[in-house]
Each structure stands twice: as structure tokens, then as C-alpha cells.
């Protein structure tokens, strides 16, 4: 594979959850999502049930990817922040490290300035965890000493079962 798989363990996941949970409260936001740049949701906090999170993750990643493309066209490395203003709700999208996207949905109970301030702090903390995940993956890959994968014994029958055969 071209890049290392993103493998997240309980402990890191818990930390990520804590950070975005705190961000959601501190920024008075409705929902906060942490999404992978490839369009997969990593974690969420707030009134998550009101939103189709899977589609949100995929469209956010598409949006960020397209904006990245635009940035490169005009000679920028990336646009690290996207803001969409709606009649009621607003979307604040920012890049965290190399592979994360932080999405904050907020209404008139908060403000862009507050969201920006809180996001900045949370991004730094999230970045540290992403770095840890990456370093661990790199170390395991370098030493060739990867942890025991639960998929090492996948059989054809397992795959047939997924398709209901």
C-alpha cells in the first residue's frame, strides 16, 4: 500500500473524543466532527443524530480535496480554513495536520471568532495525537514487527458470509 493504514486504538480514540467533546462545549457549537482526509469519519460530538454523518464526512473530504486542488492551481500549498455561512447554521472546516479535517457546525449561539479561537487550541492537541498514531505506525512498519492483525486468518467463507452467501 502506498501509505500506512490509519489504525486507531482505544486510548487514542478516547483522547480524540475528549478533545472534540470539549471543543463542542467551549465553542458553543451544535456538532463537531473529526474526519479523515479520505472521507471517513473518525469521531463526533454534540447533536450527531440530527445529521447524516457519513455523507457529511465524504462531502467534506471532497470539498477539502477540491479546494486543495484550487490552492495548488494558484500556487498555494493549501487553504487551511473553509467557512460556509448559512441562514441559520454555519460550517467551519479546518485542516488538522496531514490527514485530519475538523468540522464545526454552529448557529447564532456562537460566533465565528469564538469558533476560530477554540478550534485553534483543539487543533494543536489533535495534531499531537495524530503524530503519535503516525509515529507508532511508522515504528511498527520499520521494525517489521507489526502487532498481530485480527485479519490474518480471514477465509473465503468469511468474505462469502459478508455477501450473504
Amino acid at each position: 500500500m502506498a501509505k500506512l493504514d490509519l489504525i486507531m486504538f482505544e486510548e487514542e480514540y478516547k483522547l480524540l473524543h475528549e478533545i472534540i467533546g470539549r471543543l463542542q462545549k467551549d465553542a458553543s457549537a451544535k456538532v463537531v466532527f473529526l474526519v479523515d482526509k479520505n472521507g471517513q469519519q473518525i469521531a463526533a460530538a454534540g447533536d450527531v443524530k440530527s445529521i447524516d454523518a457519513t455523507s457529511l464526512a465524504s462531502l467534506t473530504a471532497g470539498n477539502v480535496a477540491a479546494t486543495d486542488g484550487l490552492a495548488k492551481l494558484i500556487g498555494e500549498k493549501e487553504f487551511s480554513l473553509l467557512f460556509h455561512e448559512g441562514e441559520r447554521d454555519n460550517l467551519h472546516i479546518s485542516i488538522v495536520g496531514k490527514r485530519g479535517i475538523l468540522v464545526v457546525i454552529f448557529d447564532q449561539n456562537s460566533s465565528l471568532a469564538l469558533v476560530r479561537l477554540r478550534v485553534k487550541k483543539a487543533s494543536k492537541e489533535l495534531q499531537e495525537i495524530f503524530d503519535q498514531v503516525e509515529q507508532r505506525a511508522q515504528k511498527e512498519s520499520d521494525s517489521g514487527n507489526r502487532f498481530e492483525s485480527p485479519f490474518s486468518e480471514i477465509t473465503d467463507e468469511d468474505i462469502d458470509r459478508l455477501f450473504g452467501d
Partner: protein
């Protein structure tokens, strides 16, 4: 790039349908969407033009069940096939785990198929993948068309790495699930290797 979450015990895999314009990529995932159990499928997102041509991508999340105690979820994407959307195609390949190449069996589209495979190889390379070893399935779609090129001839023109080759009529659902299954098998076997 598979996302394995040990905390929620989930594996997410991204499968991209690639191929020339109007070859039936969207038709494939629309059929899967219509057939899938409502509990297992998410919303089908289509970013299309007013004339239903894919503008950016189609997206369908599918919950497949569990393997070794892990919930397996596939994210199916299509790319826009029209030549001038190349920048968008490149973006969608980012972080993919497997490719389904949908070839149009009509004689007049053979050249477009060949060009699209070459384009896929280039765009994969730019995303750090190698078309020769990424999980890959070749689907020969539109087998019901009167001008369909014989399978052996298509194999000679389009098959380059003894990848699974599946005949299909996506509009009727023929071969659609078989194709997805062949891709899933390779992706999960890849996880096993890793």
C-alpha cells in the same frame, strides 16, 4: 488506505469505480443502492449535472456485516468519466483501497476504455499507488449491446495483470454484485497480508 478503528471495532474501505464516460459506473452503484437492505445502506450522494452526468462523484456507504468481530463498511465512489474532469478524478482516488474498472463493451468505446486505463495508471501513480498491485477488478459492462466486442478480444485489449474479469449488464444488475465481491475479496486479503 484502510481505516481500522479498534475502539469501535470497525474497518472502513474505499472502493472507486473508474472508467470512460457513460460506461455505467453510476448505474453500478445505483443498482447496489436499490438492492441493498435498507438497514445496511446509507444515503446515495450524487454530485451530478442537470443532465445526470457525474460532476464530482457519487458516494454510497454500505455496511457489510462483521469479519473477525470487526464491522466492515465499504465506501463506494464513482469518478466523473468525461475526459475534461481529470483533476476531479485524481482527487477521488486519494486513499482508495481498491479499483473497479468498468469497461464499455461497445465497439465504438474500445479506444475510450484503453485511454481510461492509461489515465487511471497515471492518476494512481500521482496518488502514490501502482496500478499493477492495487486490488483491481475489470468489469465488462453492457454485454447486452448489439455491438458488444467479443470477451476474448476485450480481454486481449484491456486485461493486463490477470485480474478478475466479470461480464455485466449493470442496468439489469447482472454481474454487479459479483464485481463488488471480487474487489472486496482482494481488499480483505490485502489486510490479511499486512
Amino acid at each position: 488506505m484502510t481505516f481500522i478503528n479498534y475502539a469501535s471495532r470497525e474497518i472502513n474501505c474505499k472502493i472507486v469505480y473508474y472508467g470512460p464516460g457513460l460506461c455505467g459506473k453510476t448505474t453500478n452503484i445505483q443498482w447496489i443502492y436499490e438492492q441493498a437492505n435498507p438497514d445496511k445502506k446509507g444515503k446515495l450522494v450524487s454530485l451530478a449535472t442537470e443532465t445526470d452526468r457525474t460532476l464530482f462523484f457519487d458516494f454510497l456507504p454500505l455496511d457489510m456485516g462483521t469479519v473477525k468481530g470487526f464491522k466492515v463498511r465499504f465506501h463506494l465512489y464513482t469518478v466523473p468519466g468525461q475526459v475534461f474532469y481529470d483533476a476531479s478524478r485524481k482527487l477521488i482516488l486519494r486513499g482508495c483501497d481498491g479499483i473497479i474498472f468498468v469497461a464499455d463493451s461497445q465497439k465504438a468505446r474500445m479506444e475510450a476504455n484503453i485511454e481510461s486505463i492509461a489515465n487511471l495508471a497515471t492518476n494512481l501513480k500521482e496518488n502514490g499507488f501502482d496500478v499493477r498491485n492495487i486490488p483491481y477488478v475489470l468489469q465488462l459492462n453492457k454485454r447486452d449491446m448489439p455491438s458488444a466486442v467479443p470477451v476474448a478480444e476485450m480481454e486481449r485489449l484491456l486485461r493486463f495483470r490477470s485480474e478478475p474479469m466479470i461480464e455485466a449488464v449493470a442496468s439489469q444488475g447482472t454481474g454487479v454484485i459479483e464485481t463488488l465481491k471480487a474487489a472486496a475479496r482482494q481488499i480483505l486479503m490485502e489486510l490479511q497480508k499486512n
